[in-house]
């Protein structure tokens, strides 16, 4: 489907924000869902690129889909050069969005780099549902220079920043900052976590989740061929015991081994959002 470009601006360094007008007959996305966008007119880059919804901007009758992206290659470079009024070819919304926990008074969002993209919409949704909800945001990058959206983070919740070199905020990574905040009792007791970022960070957060009984959800990133559940590229190994115990999401694409000990899920159909405790992190990172 063709989407008209409303805005496409450089936020900082290689980070951009794209706003597309959602046609009136198209479905609206939920935070965590994604679109696949054709990033070029030739055969290189070849495949559509998946981008998560950042947030929705309602301007009267019109609804704009905002996408935050980082220019990393030819496809995203092409996208960064689209001008207002041009059309881009996008398919979506695809996958499942984050689930919201009605009975949890406080949420903590842990992001690194472009991982902030889907979490910002989560913060807005939580705020819209419950204006009393405590929203804590841990946002980080390698250096202060590579941080972006500090103001926006501080506007929507209580923001803590971290950098690898300590040039801004806490020196260390997101999981280390989370442990520090928990140990120093800077966070409330009843918390629910939403996270997006590098796989190693998510695995470390999963360990914290287990150890401190901090429930949460993650949005995973993976190369995709089709985004439609047919190429079977984007499998994520899940914990068979956790899938049997509880299934929060409809997962039409679960694929079990014959003995029932292993299970694969398709990120494009069943994800990209998963319960942080259901992912088989060691196999995912192997």
């Amino acid at each position: 489907m063709e989407y008209q470009v409303i805005e496409n601006i450089n936020i900082s360094l290689t980070y951009y924000k794209l706003a597309l007008r959602i046609p009136s007959n198209a479905k609206l996305p939920l935070p965590g869902q994604f679109y696949t966008v054709r990033c070029g007119e030739t055969k290189e880059p070849l495949l559509r690129r998946p981008f998560s919804m950042h947030r929705l901007d309602k301007k009267g009758e019109a609804v704009h889909l905002e996408i935050l992206y980082r220019v990393v290659g030819k496809g995203t470079d092409w996208l960064s050069r689209r001008k207002i009024g041009e059309k881009v070819d996008a398919i979506g919304p695809l996958g499942n969005g984050f689930l919201f926990q009605e009975d949890v008074p406080n949420v903590i969002l842990v992001a690194r780099g472009i991982g902030l993209a889907p979490l910002y919409g989560v913060a807005e949704s939580v705020h819209m549902r419950n204006q009393e909800a405590g929203i804590f945001i841990l946002m980080g990058a390698q250096t202060d220079e590579r941080l972006f959206y500090e103001k926006e983070c501080s506007k929507i919740g209580r923001a803590f920043f971290y950098t690898d070199d300590g040039s801004k905020g806490f020196q260390g990574n997101g999981p280390q900052l989370l442990r520090h905040l928990m140990a120093s009792e800077q966070l409330p007791q009843r918390l629910y976590m939403y996270a997006c970022g590098p796989s190693h960070m998510l695995r470390d957060l999963a360990n914290i989740s287990e150890k401190f009984d901090l429930p949460g959800q993650v949005a995973l990133e993976e190369h995709m061929g089709c985004g439609l559940g047919v190429c079977l590229s984007c499998v994520c190994p899940l914990r068979a015991d956790s899938i049997r115990r509880e299934q929060h999401w409809k997962k039409p694409s679960l694929h079990w081994s014959a003995d029932g000990s292993r299970v694969y899920s398709l990120i494009c159909k069943d994800g990209p959002v998963y319960d942080i405790r259901e992912v088989e992190w060691d196999e995912w990172l192997a």
Binding site: E222, V230, L232, W256, A258
Partner: protein, 306 residues
């Protein structure tokens, strides 16, 4: 010239309304695409390769993009023949296109068992025998590069079914004409080529494969089209049964190139991911080409390379 040009063709005992089909493995079990393309307009639908027992497939991190190509190791993940028949086949009662089921086995016996089971299914119009998967440790390409195994599988599958049989060939042999000729001699009604080529991509920061523990994958997409055209022409000149061309087709022009070198039909693979409606656009584009060149029947175009 009156009316639209005739795109129909026969392969064995079946008649396709047009020569455009999805390549196995790029179209799931068909239903996944129902919101994106009119399934009733396709010449046939070829589903993901089915094996006797379900398969988990390759490790995670199965795909990456390379120059004008897609490198993937899926490892034939599928739900197995019994679930396919129970859960996926009924959907095709609502679809007005021929159904071709791709089968893969780890032994000759498995191909025979699969063919026997599918022979009993009225809705299945043809079988595509996949002896060319580059991403499994047993069977797959190991059969397709061995003339004795190729001969054995095609002969024994032919013995147990009267359905149309298409043999999907691997490009990874010294002389593909040998395998095409053998397929014809053993009773195949057609051959399809090419399956993906084995390939690698390396992450220079980690020195690891970009496909993780899978190490290598099958290279498909526009990058392989010239090689596919070359082999289709060779095969066309060596056998009498229809040749189905596969390899990086992304436009009507690409498809027409394949017809000119001898393909009777074509399969579209990777480009379904880029443009889910591509097969309809190719059908329309072929019709336009035929009309503007005053070609009434597709057969007048096939093998016209000069």
């Amino acid at each position: 010239m009156s009316g639209l040009p005739d795109l129909s063709l026969s392969i064995g005992g079946i008649q396709l309304k047009n020569p455009i089909m999805p390549a196995s493995g790029t179209f799931g079990y068909g239903q996944e695409y129902e919101d994106y393309i009119d399934l009733n307009q396709l010449g046939a639908i070829i589903v993901k390769t089915i094996t006797l027992k379900s398969k988990m497939g390759s490790h995670p991190h199965r795909s990456t993009e390379v120059s004008a190509g897609f490198l993937a190791s899926i490892g034939l993940q599928n739900i197995g023949i019994h679930r396919f028949v129970e859960e996926k086949l009924p959907y095709f009662e609502t679809v007005d296109s021929l159904l071709i089921v791709s089968i893969g086995g780890e032994s000759v016996e498995e191909y025979v068992k699969l063919a026997k089971i599918l022979d009993r299914q009225k809705r299945v119009d043809a079988l595509e025998i996949n002896i060319s998967c580059p991403n499994v440790h047993q069977g797959g390409m190991h059969f397709g590069t061995d003339p004795v195994a190729t001969k054995d599988i095609v002969t024994r599958v032919r013995d147990v079914t009267d359905k149309t049989l298409i043999v999907k060939l691997t490009p990874l042999v010294t002389d593909i004409r040998l395998f095409a000729t053998l397929s014809q001699q053993c009773g195949a009604d057609g051959v399809s080529l090419i399956n993906g080529l084995p390939g690698m991509a390396v992450d220079i920061r980690t020195t690891r494969s970009r496909l993780g523990r899978n190490v290598s994958g099958g290279l498909v997409g526009p990058a392989i089209k010239p090689f596919a055209l070359y082999l289709v022409r060779q095969v066309y000149e060596s056998i009498d049964i229809p040749v189905i061309g596969i390899g990086g087709i992304s436009s009507p022009e690409d498809a027409i190139e394949f017809f000119i070198v001898g393909a009777s039909a074509i399969e579209i693979g990777t480009w379904n991911f880029v443009n889910p409606n591509i097969m309809i656009e190719v059908i329309n584009g072929i019709q336009d080409y035929m009309m503007s060149n005053n070609i009434q029947e597709l057969s007048q175009l096939i093998g016209t390379f000069s």
